[in-house]
Subunit: 332 residues, 4 copies
């Protein structure tokens, strides 16, 4: 039995609380949120013993083995450091931080303290991506030749969210950058172009809503990543990896197994956004974290993975800002 | 909070125990199984207080509001009657019984005792079928013209299971018969043909492994149901309803959102059988049962639904045996 | 070079004329139609030498090797007989006739005269069905277990056509009956149910617009055929054959390779009716006829195939009318 | 009736000859090829009057209205000029030439002579792309946000072909560049990356076999084009255009309408290469050319389209060679 403190009981926190509550080997001891009502509601969801507004106290509680951090991004680094120094295992929503320096600092702390750590790159746990990784690792594609990803959110985020998002590359494209590393390998160079096509509000905050990025992989393969903040036809995620022997496509076309045909057209239920498309992945990533703790293995993906994927997003961001290709070696 | 006794901790029982354990409004008090080890393992799965080999005592326990019956078919009617007379709410795997007389007796007991009752026709809770029902009820198809269903199991069942299954129509086709009633309406006449094509063992126990059945609905629509005990390409379930304005197809083509293309072919993960295809439905049917209890509504589908669908399966069985079309009015 | 007379220059005749005009080894000598303007328009389409209103003279023309009969159904038998006795090769749109006696008479004439003859069961030449037949013949499915076909026309036919169509089984279901024989083998027994759901006009002419038919094959397999006169979502044809080793599905989902996704729905171009769905098949069946003549082989499918498929349609018709299953041996 | 000379009777020439032979309004007068046997075989295919090895004489023949040029690329410009000065209408396989200067020279000649001219960008006539263009022009997508194309040949071309192909961008990616202009509009800047991953032979001739290219459109939209010389899973062409209101996907998934399912996988017939994927487009582009001549309209796409698309390919080629983004204004 792993005894857990959940930090943050907002929308994503509730998802994790429900998932933790359903795991037979997990006991949620305490739910912490500065908003007392959110904390209490979270406590009920997880059938936890205690709710508190004192997040740091929840970390230090002696009956807590592991913390699950679902607080605002700006607090991640600080809370990880506290938990690591308190000897707790840590699961944290991505990203660790919005700057490289802060992320590197956290990686060092985690190395020093040897605290078990897992970052919330949930797509790696989606059954489609996980199966793709397995097949590729088993050589199904032979030498990899290309990586192709697109992600389009159904609706643009709220202006409030936007202000602290870190921008299109660090907030959104980072998921496809992580899949590129997960499925193909390390990237050595990127070239990104961006545009504001969806909403002028993005320009006002110095951000973009549409981007295309070229990737050059260490193994010679080439990649493209498309990122967009609007898809009125439904959440749009598709990833392809090709090699000398075949091609793997990861795409969830329909939310429910129903097609409605009428007057020369047809309709299916499409996914609304990441919470429904990756419902299973959110559960599976926490199950993997708990399983690693129980079996004494290092959880995956760890802080180093978080750091390397972040460097890729930063390189794309710089490439877009400076209008030139950027080598990963420049991001240090 | 609903306090539950789970009766039966075999494979299906474990599925229900896991689902119950994850529901915030459910407290599993006791898991009962004649096999003490199965009961104890079930207790752990559900984090229940007690395990017992005394099934009837579990029903009568004063701290139990509702029983979930997942025992062998032959025991269903008896346990339902005990629970109903003990004033408990009842959820039971299908079928109530393998004979009409026994089923009718249970229906009467449930009417007399007014015990809340839900039968495990889980397909009604699959997101695809549920959405189909909603669209049809909303008039999306206009007047219904046809119903078309096929179900093929990946592998034939074991000889041991077969002997007490009730036969192809009562054990397997009954799911499509229930969908026919759920999506289109009452059936007035059936004509069924059967054959042994998969394994001679079916013939030895007086059963068949392949069947086709015509349905005539009260509203004039026509239907066909195909049933088979083998599908080496993967669990094969497809249902179509057509009407004057459109057509609805319910089919889950892939288990995971991944396609692998190689040498002019392609592969996807297909479902193995009902436990993976209807994983969500098994959870949703119990959630619906609990929600109905909490809200004081009669759970759906109830005993009368179980009885009417069973009459349809019995009519098909008689049609096959007697080589003639059978009117539902003959099954009384 | 095969020298051809085309009899009948209506809508279907024009399709065949265009296809013949494009074949390098065919020379259309004459186009005959009682309507002089239709004949002349047909002559231009095929770049033929002569147009005439004298159909019989066109058959007897000494520079004509083969006749292509696309006249109204009621004239087929008579024209086939004239052509056979004149020593011409004959291609004829289905059916040979609407009665068994007349069909049997034509079959005997063709046997006596040894005239090469091909019936227009064009679906056998559709690349999907042809490939299915090849794979099945090669053993891809192992022992066949089931046949499943549905055909739904987009719009009901005109009342005028209906009056002389021969009824739902002989006019429309006959295509699926022929595929049943083509893909699985001979049928020994049928059971058909019918209904009027689309338009009361069908009832007035003693016809039905919706039917479901069970088939029992000589090799033990079971089949279902669904037939309907309305499909507002577009021409709907789907055929499945299953066996111990696999399943073959023949279905053309989209007319053009384009999907349009918008507001949680999507649209593709669907086929309007048989002329667009089977455009290639109409060309390929005539190419096969010409190739057989050039190579001195008997064209396929011949008169015996036409007769056997017709017996199947007649059995279904009788089954529906008499409300009982009908053995093929009754149709003689 | 349009009287045509066909220049070149190789593999592609034969395709065009067959298509021309099937057009009721076309009379192929002469087939010219330096290889007398090829010319004669072509004459038979098209049922033409004459075969000749004197290509220029065929152009000048007084009974010829239009020439169809299917000779090796290096001869296109010269033959176009001769035909234009001879007052003939011209249809020519792409490209006009492999250098910008030569292409511009031809464009000027065509302007001076006012000779009707059509370039063989056949994809514009594929029913999928043509329908996409129509829907986009009708505003179905609203403001265009992105263009996404990939083309992968099943097998790499022969070394012999490679030497005179013009390279990956001018020979192959040019089709997707033309679609970009056809579906979205003019491009102002490109960034291309290339690699040799399929076969070292490409490197030896200074070419690449894999490329990714970013496009920036005048209307603000962004695009990516992927190009590859290998796809062992079958000819791989997919194009997507997204806008504020929807997304259009052009993709032909299967060659024949057949799926074969077996042992948890499935197979369909995939296209082998452009001749089968674009069989209809090859016919439709020539039909459009003939129709334009008959109706006195300028054929489309004309020389200016050929020139602008070629500039895009040249820009991509330069971007790859110089390792920097290239503005279209640099290519003059």
């Amino acid at each position: 039995m792993i005894h857990v403190a959940v930090l943050g009981a907002g929308r994503m926190g509730q998802t994790h609380l429900r998932n933790l509550a359903a795991m037979p080997d997990v006991h949620v001891r305490v739910v912490a949120d500065p908003d007392a009502r959110a904390a209490e509601r979270g406590r009920q969801l997880a059938r936890a013993e205690r709710a508190t507004t004192d997040v740091e106290a929840a970390i230090h509680a002696p009956d807590v083995d592991a913390v699950v951090i679902v607080t605002p991004t700006a607090t991640h680094a600080h809370l990880i450091e506290i938990a690591a120094r308190a000897g707790k295992a840590i699961w944290c929503e991505k990203p660790i931080a919005l700057t490289l320096a802060e992320t590197q600092h956290v990686v060092r702390v985690l190395e020093q303290t040897r605290a078990p750590f897992q970052i919330g790159f949930m797509r790696r746990f989606d059954p489609g991506y996980a199966a793709a990784r397995q097949r590729i690792a088993a050589g199904a594609l032979g030498r990899i030749e290309s990586f192709r990803a697109l992600s389009r959110d159904t609706h643009p985020p709220s202006p409030k969210f936007l202000a602290s998002s870190g921008g299109l590359f660090l907030d959104m494209a980072i998921h496809d950058f992580d899949l590129a590393r997960f499925l193909v390998g390390e990237v050595t160079e990127v070239q990104a172009w961006g545009a504001v096509l969806v909403d002028e509000h993005f320009r006002e905050v110095g951000d973009i809503d549409t981007a295309v990025t070229l990737l050059r992989f260490e193994n010679g393969a080439l990649g493209v990543v498309e990122t967009g903040r609007r898809a009125p036809w439904g959440y749009d995620i598709r990833t392809e990896v090709t090699g000398e022997r075949g091609k793997i496509v990861i795409e969830a076309a329909q939310k429910t197994p129903l097609l409605f045909l009428r007057s020369f057209g047809f309709e299916g239920d499409r996914f609304e956004s990441f919470p429904d498309r990756f419902e299973d992945a959110y559960r599976l990533e926490l199950e993997a974290f708990i399983a690693a703790l129980q079996e004494g293995r290092a959880p995956e993906p760890g802080a180093e993975e978080a750091l390397q994927t972040m460097r890729l997003a930063l390189a794309a961001d710089r490439s877009w800002r400076e209008g030139r290709s950027v080598k990963l070696s420049e991001i240090a």
